[in-house]
């Protein structure tokens, strides 16, 4: 019921987390490709969304690994809280637990029902103030990684135009290829923002190529280690972003995922709760101590 309401109101939230790597072990629906043979890009994207609709309340413990062009790695531990309200607004909180010097850093993003996003930062070392940041900042790199905030929060279907291209076969697997354009542009004369490669048998977005303004692949996002999280719903436990221009790689591994409204109550997405609960939980502190 909640999911239906969500679709009705936001209709557009497609968290790319939901796009999963379709390994051989994934669930398949053998008749699906025939149904979608004549489908448009938008219809396929809607089918993807319907197939892998998200749970509204998610708590995740994550490890982000940043790898530079020389292969050096930098690891961060974080917790992520996501809550989708009935009116379609989404709240998103990211808390840093390690390394020690960035412990307590918080990124809070709120997208209201009309699609407007507000985000703010909390830097414990700077003082007990939240610093507002504009929506444009969400298009930049996210806290040193090759992900943008937008990559992590999702793509709004209504804001984009989806054009189905010729199906592709990659390593023996058939894929739908959907080019994504900003809504309102003429695809014949514009470059796509990105291209989704969707496994035909499971409708998972296995790969997304992000293009630069010249139409060259700049970054490639892939999803791995798929786990079933419900009937026909899958989530990746590893998201990888390759920056093909700089040779950087960013990995996001989900170490723990819980779908529970109790873990993401509305007050968790407030400055008061964040300020009152930093430094973080004793468990996290202990983990940091173990590391050090």
């Amino acid at each position: 019921m909640t999911v239906l309401r969500l679709l009705k109101h936001s209709g557009s939230w497609l968290l790319l987390w939901a796009a999963a790597h379709a390994a051989a072990s994934t669930a398949t629906d053998h008749g699906l490709e025939h149904i979608l043979d004549e489908a448009s890009g938008a219809e396929i994207m809607r089918a993807v969304q319907e197939r892998h609709q998200l749970y509204p309340h998610v708590y995740e413990e994550q490890v982000m690994v940043l790898q530079d062009r020389l292969g050096h790695r930098d690891t961060r531990r974080l917790r992520r809280f996501t809550r989708v309200e009935e009116d379609g607004s989404v709240r998103f909180l990211l808390l840093f637990d390690a390394p020690e010097d960035v412990m307590g850093v918080a990124l809070l993003a709120v997208r209201n029902a009309s699609g407007e996003t507000r985000q703010s930062f909390y830097l414990p070392a700077l003082g007990p103030d939240f610093i507002e940041s504009s929506e444009r900042s969400s298009q930049g790199s996210f806290l040193g990684s090759d992900f943008t905030v937008e990559n992590l929060t999702g793509e709004v279907l209504a804001d984009h135009l989806y054009v189905r291209r010729r199906d592709e076969r990659i390593v023996g697997q058939p894929y739908y290829r959907i080019d994504v354009y900003r809504a309102g542009v003429e695809p014949a004369t514009s470059s796509p923002l990105r291209a989704h490669f969707i496994l035909q048998d499971s409708l998972f977005i296995a790969r997304t190529d992000h293009f630069d303004d010249l139409g060259r692949v700049e970054r490639r996002q892939t999803h791995h280690d798929l786990v079933p999280v419900g009937a026909g719903v899958w989530r990746p436990n590893l998201v990888r972003m390759d920056n093909l221009r700089d040779g950087h790689k960013s990995y996001l591994r989900i170490e723990r995922r819980i779908f529970s409204a109790d873990l993401v109550p509305p007050e968790r997405f407030t400055a008061q709760w964040i300020l009152a609960n930093q430094p973080p939980l004793a468990r996290v502190v202990a983990a940091v101590e173990d590391e050090s």
Partner: protein, 911 residues
């Protein structure tokens, strides 16, 4: 042996020609394989340990190999201009091998105001309004990280920084990048007041194109100058054509060898065709002059006899001069700079090849096509031309003021050596181009409006991970940068300290000044706002190492190295004790290599002079000979270094080679002079006269070849490269100095010595038994006997010719080597043969000891060859060859003693 070699081509014309054609064809087929090396790598010593350090640091913090696109317009911040700039930035990304382009449209900034901080693009697309454009300008100029690096403070100039893929191993990639960018810029030149590119691709392309332009220009120009000079002085078209033939073949051989051996052409080796033509011609000039002299002595087969004469007189000097010239070029192998080493290989081979070709081909061509008589004007020129006038002028000094001349020369040398103390070194690639070249002017313009296009790194390493998240260490970076600013030598510096100070200001809002965050946690938290790509040039992944990127526009190594040394001292003080520091950069390594130029120069010059001294000492069986041979080599070098100091001409890869090359060439004239003087000394006891004659005979080829060399080197002034032009000018001046040294100083010194050549000792053809059995040579070794023969004069007499005439005064004593002579006394009662002398007999010893009238004639009864020992000459030679002359005098007194004893014995018997 040497004559045999010289006449090899004459005796075996068909096979020699076949071999020459075969080698030439093989070489020609290698020319297509020629490679060009204009990389900065060739300017850095291969064994420089700092190279590995640089490579490690460049690998970690990124290469400094970037091209800068300079865009200037007073109305830059308007929607129209910015639209053009955006199109340009987009277009650049489509140029082959371009990895990324950084500029206004993809630069990110952090902007803080009233509790908000936005990390965003400086400008998100082309502004549609003038206000939007001005807002973008204000945002761009407010970011200290971009000031001078991307935008001039007044906002009229912006830069696009183009990073390239690793194209080092891809042939012609630099040219493709340069031309691609240039085509794009051509489309945008109308959009802006000024737009151009500066960076390694442009430098590489300009170096390569200038190099080929030099090769195409300098070779033919040198040939023209050579023909003109030879026609002017030798008055013989043949004398002008022969050097062109030999040098053309040598050019093909050399370029072919370079192609097959994989030795690349560089800006120095581009002048090799011109050098072969110019230097190779000097040998031809000398041997053609000898051929002309030989024509006068020819009998049946005029050409062949003249060539044989040439072989006898020029064989050894030719081989020696080829050797010394090649040694001069080979001495550059001691440089540890790749570009100079490659040039040394190419030029040494070229000189040897030219010598071999000359040795084999010129006698063959002369026998076939040589003139049958010397050009009258040649003799006229020799007697009354410029060389003769120079010789006469010099002779006044030599004869009247020899000591003063030597003293003035010595004083001049001291003055110039003192001036040489001002000498400084430089190796900066941009200094290879003349100052008025657009590339250099563009580079200056970038430096004036933004910051210099040259980079170096100050890399610091802490003793633990995250050392550069410690505020204390970040503060040290800022301290170093403050010193750099105070130093005033470098244009701009950027480090992680600047990034942190900027973000701190934007987050803090209330800070008017840039200040650094005070806690490690705040540093770490600010750093979250940068993408790794934004920081990897300034800090290592683990924050253990930090890097300050410094930009500058210093074009001479001397100044740069001095500032770097000062910087090192200060940084060591700031960094001590727990931070390790390395200052490095490709540009810095190249400039530091300048210091090895000086060391290489001293080593090469010392070794070459030592070698020449030893070779010449051996050749003239005397260390004095070796020392004399060095005089005309050392004087021009002293003057050359003095002029460099006086005119502030730097020691660079071009000028660093002048000394050794000039020594190798200048010594040629000396060898010819000494060899001729030696030869003449065998025929006369008038050594001063021999000096005069040797100088007169050698002056024309020496002056002609030196002037031709000076003019030929002068041609290099037309080179596109300053280093080559400076090399040419100095080499030309040195050649002119060598005329002065060879014709003014060498004769004064030469007249005071008597030399015997080792080759003469070895080549002497005398009856060994005659010498062994002669009492005159008693107690001498074979070597001493041969040397004694050479100290004497060898006289040949025809049948019936009088060796000694009764009633004349004479102070000479003779030893018959071959033939027979009668001792005939003329009296009132007619002539009476007193004795018949044969090989080994000595006569005239009384006259040698005491000036008395000859008491009888000595007449040859057939062809006679005799050694003549002149008293006065022997007295002179006593100081030059004391052991041999003393032994000779002792033997003469023994002979006289025995004669006296015989006479006393005979009288006693009679009585």
């Amino acid at each position: 042996m040497i004559s045999w070699l010289f006449l090899l081509g004459v005796r075996n014309q068909a096979s020699t020609l076949f071999v020459l054609v075969l080698i030439t064809l093989a070489a020609a087929s290698g020319i297509g394989r020629l490679q060009v090396d204009t990389s900065f790598d060739s300017l850095i010593p291969a064994n420089d340990p700092a190279r590995a350090v640089y490579q490690r640091i460049a690998n970690e913090f990124g290469s400094d190999n970037r091209t800068l696109i300079y865009v200037r317009d007073d109305a830059l911040w308007t929607p129209e201009k910015l639209a053009s700039l955006e199109a340009l930035q987009r277009g650049l990304r489509q140029v082959p091998h371009v990895e990324r382009v950084d500029g206004l449209f993809n630069l990110r900034t952090v902007e803080g105001r009233r509790g908000r901080v936005d990390a965003q693009l400086l400008v998100d697309g082309v502004p549609e309004t003038r206000e939007g454009a001005l807002l973008a300008r204000d945002r761009a100029l407010a970011n200290p990280l971009y000031r001078y690096n991307f935008f001039s403070p007044d906002g009229r100039v912006t830069a696009l920084i183009v990073s390239l893929e690793d194209i080092e191993e891809i042939p012609d990639a630099s040219a493709r990048v340069h031309d691609g960018i240039e085509r794009l810029l051509d489309r945008h030149r109308g959009d802006f007041e000024r737009v151009f590119q500066v960076g390694p691709p442009r430098i590489s392309v300009e170096l390569t194109r200038s190099l080929f332009s030099d090769m195409l220009l300098l070779g033919p120009l040198a040939a023209l100058v050579l023909i003109g000079a030879i026609l002017l002085f030798m008055r013989s078209p043949m004398a002008a054509i022969l050097p062109l033939v030999t040098s053309s073949l040598a050019v093909v051989w050399t370029l072919g060898m370079l192609g097959w051996a994989g030795v690349p052409l560089n800006i120095l080796s581009a002048m090799i065709p011109a050098l072969i033509i110019v230097i190779g011609s000097t040998e031809d000039t000398h041997i053609i002059a000898a051929y002309f002299r030989g024509l006068a002595e020819g009998a049946e087969d005029v050409r062949l006899d003249a060539v044989r004469y040439m072989a006898r007189h020029m064989g050894l000097p030719l081989i020696l001069t080829v050797m010394t010239t090649a040694l001069g070029f080979a001495a550059n192998l001691f440089s540890n700079i790749g570009m100079i080493q490659d040039f040394a290989i190419a030029s040494t081979f070229a000189m040897v090849a030219n010598g071999v070709i000359t040795l084999l081909l010129v006698p063959m061509l002369l026998v076939k096509f040589g003139s049958l008589r010397p050009p009258e004007s040649f003799e006229e020129e020799r007697r009354h031309g410029l060389p003769r006038r120079i010789v006469r002028l010099f002779r006044v000094s030599q004869d009247r003021f020899p000591t003063n001349t030597l003293a003035v020369t010595a004083a001049l040398c001291v003055f110039f050596i003192w001036q040489a103390s001002n000498l400084y070194v430089t190796n900066d690639p941009l200094s290879y181009f003349p100052a008025d070249r657009p590339l250099i002017q563009d580079t200056r313009r970038v430096a004036d409006d933004l910051a210099g296009v040259k980079f170096f790194y100050i890399a610091l390493e802490g003793d633990h991970d995250r050392a550069f998240q410690e505020p204390a260490n970040v503060t040290r970076l800022a301290e170093i940068q403050r010193f750099i600013q105070r130093q005033g030598a470098f244009d701009a510096s950027l480090s992680i300290a600047d990034h942190l100070a900027f973000v701190h200001r934007e987050f803090g809002g209330q800070f008017a000044e840039l200040a650094l965050p005070e806690t490690r946690q705040l540093v770490a938290q600010y750093l979250l706002f940068f993408h790794r790509g934004d920081l990897e040039q300034y800090v290592s992944h683990d924050y253990r190492r930090a890097n300050i990127v410094v930009r500058h526009n210093i074009n001479d190594s001397y100044t740069l190295n001095a500032h770097i040394r000062e910087l090192e001292d200060v940084i060591d003080h700031i960094a001590a004790p727990d931070l390790r520091v390395v200052i490095t950069g490709e540009n810095l390594l190249v400039n530091r290599a300048a210091e090895s130029l000086m060391l290489g120069q001293v080593q090469a010059l010392g070794l070459l002079l030592g070698l020449i001294f030893l070779v010449m000492s051996a050749m003239f069986t005397s260390f004095k000979g070796g020392a004399i041979a060095l005089i005309p080599a050392v004087i021009p070098i002293a003057l050359m270094f003095g002029i460099m100091g006086l005119l502030r001409i730097p020691l660079n890869p071009g000028t660093a080679m002048v000394a050794v090359i000039a020594v190798g060439i200048a010594i040629d004239g000396t060898i010819h002079l000494l060899a001729r003087y030696n030869e003449l000394c065998r025929r006369t006891s008038d050594y001063v006269g021999a000096v005069h004659q040797a100088v007169e005979e050698e002056a024309t080829p020496l002056i002609v070849s030196s002037l031709a060399l000076a003019l030929g080197f002068g041609v290099l002034l037309f080179s596109n490269f300053t280093v080559v032009a400076q090399f040419g000018a100095l080499a030309a001046a040195t050649m002119l100095f060598s005329i002065l040294a060879n014709l003014l100083i060498t004769p004064i010194v030469m007249a005071r010595v008597r030399l015997v050549g080792l080759y003469q000792i070895l080549a002497i053809s005398v009856n060994k038994e005659v010498l062994q059995q002669s009492p005159l040579f008693a107690g001498m070794s074979e070597y001493q006997r041969r040397k004694a023969v050479l100290i004497s004069e060898t006289n040949d007499f025809a049948s019936s010719e009088c060796l000694v005439e009764q009633g004349t005064m004479g102070r000479s004593m003779y030893l018959i080597l071959d033939g027979h002579a009668d001792v005939v006394r003329r009296g009132e009662d007619g002539e009476k043969v007193l004795a018949t002398l044969g090989p080994g007999d000595v006569f005239g010893e009384i006259g040698y000891i005491r000036a008395v009238e000859r008491t009888a004639d000595v007449r040859a009864t057939g062809p006679v060859s005799a050694l003549r020992f002149d008293y006065e000459r022997m007295q002179k030679d006593l100081k030059f060859f004391p052991n041999i002359v003393a032994q000779l005098n002792f033997n003469i007194s023994t002979i006289l003693g025995e004669r006296l004893a015989d006479m006393v014995g005979t009288s006693a018997t009679k009585s």
